[in-house]
Each structure stands twice: as structure tokens, then as C-alpha cells.
């Protein structure tokens, strides 16, 4: 590559105008001129795609939302008995069905029974199955794209015990409004803020696409992940 312009130099020429050295090289080098022309054609093609415009709208929507005045306090779909309830985590698997392989899971337990439906005032417990992964964080997103970090309370994803259904913390009380509960897994600690950011983007994208955040696709940056929707009746 040393006889020709690098990808970086070509991209500079194609966008900001190149350095005098790059322009001099282009004047003498037919292969680099052809590569530059191919880059420019790709840019034009990309600008004509539907995805190009859709992503712009999603970015504009996300940043507009970030720039808006903070709407707190907002109605949260799930109110956690924070503080003491989450200060100490009980990481003991229940049941005998320890599973170390397969897809990770997240569940909401009424007692020891998984559920996807609840009423305001019900008390549910979060549970995950790491499928061999050692760390996790769990989030809830409501229909208005409000995100709550359910677990852990710290800045990084936290260690989970092996098992197919590992309870996280104490039961919490359900309030009105459906939510989707999403767990992200990994093999080492990751910043929760990074995962939160990816989920907020995905939620904003869902809104921009005219769908509900309750049905958002899981962004690849939080994979491996699992989700469960909780329908909250009256």
C-alpha cells in the first residue's frame, strides 16, 4: 500500500479535500484516481438509499430528545424498592435445573412461577439464566421509551451465579403500564452506561420507525441478550 494513497487519504480527498501531497499523488497515479472515483460513487449510492435517510432521522430524533428539558419525575412502569432491597444481592440459584449452555434468559417470577402478566401492586422478582455467561445487567423500557436500570445498582454489569433461573435482588412492586425487561449478558464487567446508551438508541429508533419501544429489536452491542414483556392489567 505504500506506493498508493491509504484509505484515510482517499477519504479525506473525497470529503474534506486532500493534502497537497495527496493531490499531487493523484495527479500522477491512475489506480488511485480510479479508487477515488469508486469511493465517490459509493458515497452517492449510499446517499440515495432509504436507510441513509432513516438513520439520519433516528439520530436527529435521539439528539433532539437528549436536548429536551429533563422531564423527571416521570411515571415509571416499575417502581423498585431501591436502597436496601438492591444493596445486597442474593445470587443463589433455585431449582435443580442448572443450565450452562443454550440461550440466556430473563424472567419475572411471581413467587417461583414465571409470569408475563401482572397487576399494579403485584410483587415480582427478576431472574436470569446466564447460559454460561458470568455477568449481566437488566433494564426496563416502557411505551414512552423511558429506561430504568433494574439491576445492578452500580456502574458496571455484575456477576451472576450459574443456573437457569437465578433471582436478582428482592421482589419489586409493579405499577401501571406495560414494560419490556431486557437483560444483557457477558463474560466480563461492562459499563452499564454503554448498554443503556445502546438501548436508548434502539428505543428512539423504534419510535422513529413508528413502532413501540416495547417491541424494539435488541441492538447487537448488548448481545448476548434476552427480553421479556410484562403486560400490566388494571
Amino acid at each position: 500500500m505504500s506506493d498508493h494513497l491509504s484509505a484515510f487519504a482517499l477519504d479525506e480527498v473525497a470529503t474534506d479535500g486532500g493534502s497537497p501531497e495527496a493531490m499531487a499523488h493523484l495527479a500522477e497515479c491512475q489506480p488511485c484516481r480510479e479508487r477515488l472515483e469508486a469511493v465517490r460513487q459509493q458515497h452517492q449510492t449510499l446517499k440515495g438509499t432509504r436507510e441513509f435517510q432513516a438513520r439520519f432521522e433516528a439520530i436527529a430524533a435521539t439528539t433532539a430528545k437528549a436536548a429536551a428539558p429533563n422531564p423527571w419525575p416521570r411515571r415509571l412502569a416499575i417502581v423498585l424498592p431501591l436502597a436496601a432491597a438492591l444493596a445486597v444481592f442474593i445470587l443463589s440459584p433455585i431449582g435443580d435445573d442448572t443450565r450452562l449452555k443454550g440461550a440466556p434468559t430473563v424472567e419475572l417470577l411471581a413467587g417461583e412461577r414465571p409470569t408475563t402478566q401482572a397487576k399494579p401492586g403485584d410483587r415480582l422478582t427478576l431472574a436470569v439464566g446466564g447460559a454460561g455467561h458470568t455477568h449481566a445487567a437488566v433494564f426496563a423500557i416502557d411505551a414512552e421509551a423511558q429506561l430504568t436500570v433494574l439491576w445492578p445498582p452500580g456502574d458496571s454489569t455484575a456477576a451472576i451465579a450459574p443456573g437457569a433461573r437465578v433471582p436478582l435482588g428482592q421482589p419489586f412492586e409493579v405499577t401501571a403500564g406495560d414494560v419490556v425487561v431486557i437483560a444483557s449478558f457477558g463474560d466480563r464487567a461492562r459499563p452499564v452506561a454503554e448498554l443503556r446508551e445502546a438501548l436508548e438508541r434502539a428505543a428512539a429508533k423504534a419510535i422513529a420507525a413508528g413502532t413501540t419501544p416495547l417491541e424494539l429489536g435488541l441492538p447487537s452491542t448488548i448481545e448476548p441478550a434476552a427480553k421479556v414483556r410484562l403486560e400490566v392489567g388494571r
Partner: protein, 167 residues
């Protein structure tokens, strides 16, 4: 306002100018259009949240390369667990012969290299950047980059092979 003190029109101008570059770079590393578009969105959101530092760059393309490389490598690391086999993209005109081989090796090495080494390896083996360009993109001195490149080549050799595109 589109956020970060930018009007929608200003955001649009930045997007029209740089999004195609971000997309192509991300796709070269990630191998799939959908993931590359996710990277575009993430890079622009970072650009807006760090708009002052972006505007402070003498060469905006250095910022674009640095952040896009970081975002794509993060995505690659996150994805590696679930998708060991990736689609090959071979229609990127800005990278040279051997880029596919270089990308495959980078993916293979991703667990063996530090984050800095991954950045340098991407810029060196995949993009074919010069030592000076790598120093500019990563905001480091040429002396530091020279030392890190020597260490990286040694480590790459110990891992198996050095890509043919090694400048």
C-alpha cells in the same frame, strides 16, 4: 435544534459529508450492512455529544477514523460470542489487496490483542495507513506509534501470520 447546539441543517451537513465514510469503514470491519448502519448512528451520536472536541480537530477525518474504529471494534467484540462466522464484504474500493485476509486475522486475534493493539492493527493492516496517519488518528506521537507498531508486528508474527497488506 437537533441537539448538542447544532441545528438540524448543520447536523444534516455533517451527516451527508461523513456518514458514507463511517458506513464504509464500519462495514469493512463488521461485514454486514445492518451492523454498519448501527455503527453510523452510534458514531454520530458520539459526535454530537462531543461536538466541541470534534470541531477542535484540525483534521475531522482523524476523529471519524478513531471513533469509527473504536465503535466497530466494540461491536465486533460484543458480536464475537454469538456469531463466529461473518459475511465477507469485498467491494470496498479504498482498502488494498489482502484486506479480507487482514480483517479475518483481526477477528481471529481480537481476544489476543489489547484494545489499543486492535486499533493500531486495524489502521495498519486493514486500512494500510502510514505511521504518520496512525499517529494522527490516535493522537499519539510518531515515536510512540513506531514503538507500538514494532511490538504489534512481533506479536502478530507470534500469533501466526502478518497480513500481506502490512505496509
Amino acid at each position: 435544534m437537533a441537539g448538542a447546539g447544532l441545528s438540524r441543517e448543520e447536523l444534516k451537513r455533517l451527516y451527508e459529508r461523513y456518514a458514507p465514510v463511517v458506513f464504509r469503514r464500519a462495514r469493512t470491519l463488521l461485514g454486514r450492512d445492518a451492523d454498519a448502519w448501527d455503527a453510523v448512528q452510534e458514531v454520530f451520536e458520539k459526535m454530537l455529544s462531543a461536538h466541541d472536541s470534534f470541531r477542535g480537530e484540525a483534521q475531522p477525518m482523524t476523529w471519524i477514523y478513531r471513533i469509527t474504529t473504536n465503535v466497530a471494534l466494540n461491536m465486533l467484540r460484543a458480536r464475537k460470542v454469538r456469531e463466529p462466522v461473518l459475511t465477507v464484504v469485498d467491494d470496498e474500493p479504498s482498502v488494498g489487496v489482502g484486506s479480507v485476509e487482514a480483517r479475518d486475522l483481526l477477528r481471529k486475534w481480537i481476544d489476543s490483542l489489547t484494545e489499543r493493539e486492535q486499533q493500531v492493527a486495524t489502521l495498519l493492516f486493514l486500512d494500510g495507513l502510514t505511521q504518520e496517519e496512525i499517529a494522527d488518528v490516535l493522537g499519539l506521537s510518531r515515536k510512540t506509534i513506531g514503538r507500538e507498531l514494532a511490538e504489534l508486528r512481533e506479536k502478530a508474527a507470534s500469533l501466526g501470520a502478518v497480513p500481506r497488506g502490512d505496509p
